[in-house]
């Protein structure tokens, strides 16, 4: 392709004394062009955004002022409340924590794995399954997780905990506003742990 037929050098004969021009090869060295081509390819490969951003779909509970129907109550035995706090710390307790006479046993953990919140969620799921098997809960009851991020938590905590929901296949969960009672729990647990 890069060569041209140069064998036939015109039909007419040059007269004597006329110098014949030196025939130059038309063969071009394409190596630099290939180099350039690959250089540009490399550039485009690097700049290409092949992987599109992924998203996580989230559904918030439907709220309407006109709708005064009491929201479906979840049973305390299926519930696990998770409080997100500062420094990616997680406080959690079983049940809904709505009974002031029986303060829940608030424990603290992290997103670290194993031994973090995932282990706790799995333990809770196992417990609920056990209760279902023994007939204390109906088949309709599922592990329900209430997520309450406090004002010191960050967005990554929220995404991480929502991710844990999909990792552990928790079907029933909701992001709820933190109550003053829950903030008190965090404070008390912090103090119990030596003000950390």
């Amino acid at each position: 392709m890069a060569e041209m037929d140069t064998s036939s050098s015109g039909g007419h004969k040059k007269g004597p004394g006329v110098k014949k021009g030196k025939k130059l090869s038309t063969r071009i060295d394409l190596t630099p062009m290939v180099d350039l081509g690959f250089l540009l390819i490399t550039f485009f490969i690097y700049t290409t955004t092949m992987s599109k951003p992924k998203t996580m779909e989230i559904n918030m509970p439907f709220k309407d002022e006109k709708l005064k129907v009491d929201t479906t109550k979840i049973k305390a035995s299926t519930a696990l409340t998770i409080l997100l706090s500062k420094n990616h710390r997680i406080y959690y307790y079983e049940g809904l924590g709505d009974d002031p006479t029986v303060p829940p046993d608030v424990k603290v953990t992290t997103f670290k794995n194993p031994g973090g919140i995932r282990t706790e969620i799995m333990a809770k799921q196992k417990k609920v399954n056990e209760l279902r098997r023994t007939g204390q809960l109906t088949d309709k009851d599922q592990t329900a997780i209430l997520i309450k991020p406090d004002s010191t938590s960050s967005y990554s905590d929220l995404v991480n905990i929502l991710d844990e929901m999909s990792i552990n296949d928790v079907r029933v969960y909701a992001i709820v506003d933190i109550s003053p009672v829950d903030q008190d729990f965090i404070l008390k647990t912090e103090q119990a742990n030596g003000g950390k």
Partner: protein, 219 residues
């Protein structure tokens, strides 16, 4: 003994074919490349196992940077033009046609209504500088609060294009109260379903999600 003489071959290779391949690939990459849309701020999204792909069109993007500034954008130029016109009418901003065009061509908004005129009338290179110092779109947990400007943007954008999917792209270090404000604003407009933009991470083994992805694997 007669020696077998090997014919000496030229070491010159014809580069033409290689050149063809190189440029073919180059053409492919040039056509396939979609440059990243200009972003007002650098946002490092947290990762999740979710692999739902972000749609290409009809996207309303609410970006939140680590400092908690909120930026608002929608994707289509024509829609942006309609949006700024309706916002201009609603809020009596008194924008000129050039300023409106500047909005339609720009990437996103991160200034309150009081500053939007001066922001849009600035030349493009200056706009970038202004954007870096922009205070962000003011938000509030109450959707109808007078200073909840994000609410006005969301409402106007949904009127211009009802098909908009709402995506939140927030930095992992953004604090929860800001996210809460944005979510509450969306809830106020009866948006209960939206997308959070995350980067992808692998599903950890030994979990329910892993078992669902690999149904044939034995435990």
């Amino acid at each position: 003994m007669p020696q077998v003489k090997l014919p000496r071959k030229s070491t010159n290779i014809d580069m033409t074919a290689m050149c063809d391949v190189a440029f073919l690939l180059l053409t492919f990459f040039m056509l396939a490349t979609k440059f990243k849309p200009e972003e007002p701020v650098v946002v490092k999204t947290p990762s999740s196992i979710s692999d739902v792909i972000l749609p290409d069109v009809d996207v309303m993007l609410i970006t939140i940077d680590p400092k908690g500034r909120v930026f608002f954008s929608i994707d289509n130029k024509i829609m942006r033009k309609q949006l700024i016109e309706s916002i201009d009418k609603d809020k009596n901003l008194g924008l000129t046609a050039t300023e409106k065009t500047s909005f339609a061509l720009g990437a996103s908004t991160g200034v309150p209504f009081s500053q939007i005129k001066s922001y849009l009338s600035a030349p493009t290179d200056q706009q970038k500088m202004l954007e870096a110092r922009a205070p962000g779109v003011p938000t509030d947990t109450a959707v109808l609060a007078p200073d909840n400007e994000l609410s006005a943007w969301v409402s106007a954008a949904r009127q211009t294009n009802p098909k908009l999917r709402i995506c939140i792209k927030a930095d992992g270090d953004a604090s929860y109260p800001v996210i809460n404000k944005v979510i509450k604003t969306l809830e106020g407009w009866k948006v209960f379903k939206f997308n959070l933009i995350t980067s992808l991470k692998g599903v950890p083994s030994g979990t329910a999600a892993y078992a669902m992805q690999h149904p044939n694997e034995k435990k």
